[in-house]
């Protein structure tokens, strides 16, 4: 089991967690984990520009926008 296989399995588990959690803040944090592991995989595929863009946009801006919107609407799923 190489390290890339373990990372992809972790990413899939985090994606399933983002789909299943009922507390929306927990789901957003799982989405942030998916973005970070995605940025790391872009580095392994020899693409530094795309890794930098995904880390800056996916892990910082998307999470911040989601948290601001969750604060203005409901927090739990029902």
């Amino acid at each position: 089991m190489t390290i890339i296989t373990i990372l992809i399995l972790l990413m899939l588990i985090a994606a399933i967690a983002a789909a299943v959690f009922k507390d929306l803040l927990n789901a957003v944090i799982a989405l942030c984990i998916v973005s970070l592991i995605n940025a790391l995989l872009f580095y392994f595929l020899h693409a530094p520009d795309v890794a930098m863009a995904e880390a800056a946009i996916g892990a910082a801006l998307v999470t911040a926008i989601f948290v601001i919107v969750i604060k203005k609407t409901t927090r739990y799923e029902e």
Binding site: D49, M52, A53, I57, A60, L61, A64, I65, V69
Partner: protein, 227 residues
């Protein structure tokens, strides 16, 4: 009922995609266009970063379309959310903790400097306008998180964004006045691997960096109930 139909749809899609993926080998040479850009890109444009020369020079029109999409999304968001009503349920404003406020005061100028470094050196190292703009927007998010009464000036941000967009289109159209095609590289190429090289690529990426940073800051300002 809805669950069963959707799971059936997903199974059919999985079977279709598996049949397609067996024909795409992993790690083999597939196209010829990439070879041409790798062999001739550095000599024709003068940039050391081949992805930058593809984004700005060979496919510059796609970047212009992307700037338009960003601009339209920011305008749409300001039109939907730009007129906040009076607060019907005022929440008690509690100040942020001391760690966040002190961290903001120490880190804010360094984050701006780092973002500017990324988009100025876009043609030499990995980076460019979009990554630098996102880092600058993260600095402004930190400012909004740290204290409730620090806001950006929305008029100044909109002026910066419009001027940066005008610089991009003006540089692209200035090539037309010299008799060359739209968005072609008309400035001198300079010496390879120095800061002032590669024609119009640094100028365009500086404009893109300012525009993207100002745009995302305006989006955050509108989402947190701007006034």
């Amino acid at each position: 009922m809805r669950k069963i139909i959707s799971i059936l749809l997903l199974f059919i899609l999985t079977a279709g995609f598996t049949l397609c993926l067996l024909d795409i080998p992993f790690g083999e040479q597939k196209t010829k266009v990439g070879n041409y850009y790798i062999n001739n890109g550095a000599r024709e444009t003068g940039a050391a970063n081949i992805v930058t020369s593809v984004v700005v020079n060979y496919r510059g029109f796609d970047t212009l379309g992307e700037i338009t999409i960003l601009f339209t999304a920011a305008i749409g968001l300001a039109a939907v959310l730009g007129h906040p009503k009076k607060n019907k349920d005022p929440q008690p404003k509690e100040p942020a903790s001391l760690i966040v406020y002190t961290g903001y005061r120490i880190l804010f100028p360094f984050m701006l400097l780092f973002g500017a470094y990324i988009f100025i050196h876009g043609h030499l190292t990995p980076g460019g306008g979009f990554q630098g703009g996102a880092v600058i927007a993260s600095a402004f998010i930190l400012m909004y998180m740290s204290s409730k009464d620090k806001k950006i000036n929305p008029t100044a941000v909109k002026i910066i964004e419009s001027l940066a967009g005008l610089t991009f289109v003006g540089t692209a159209a200035a090539a037309l006045t010299l008799g060359r095609p739209f968005l072609s590289n008309f400035m001198p190429k300079g010496e390879f691997m120095t800061l002032l090289s590669a024609g119009i690529i640094p100028v365009i990426y500086i404009a893109v960096g300012f525009k993207v940073g100002a745009e995302f800051s305006g989006i955050i300002h509108d989402l947190t109930g701007g006034n």
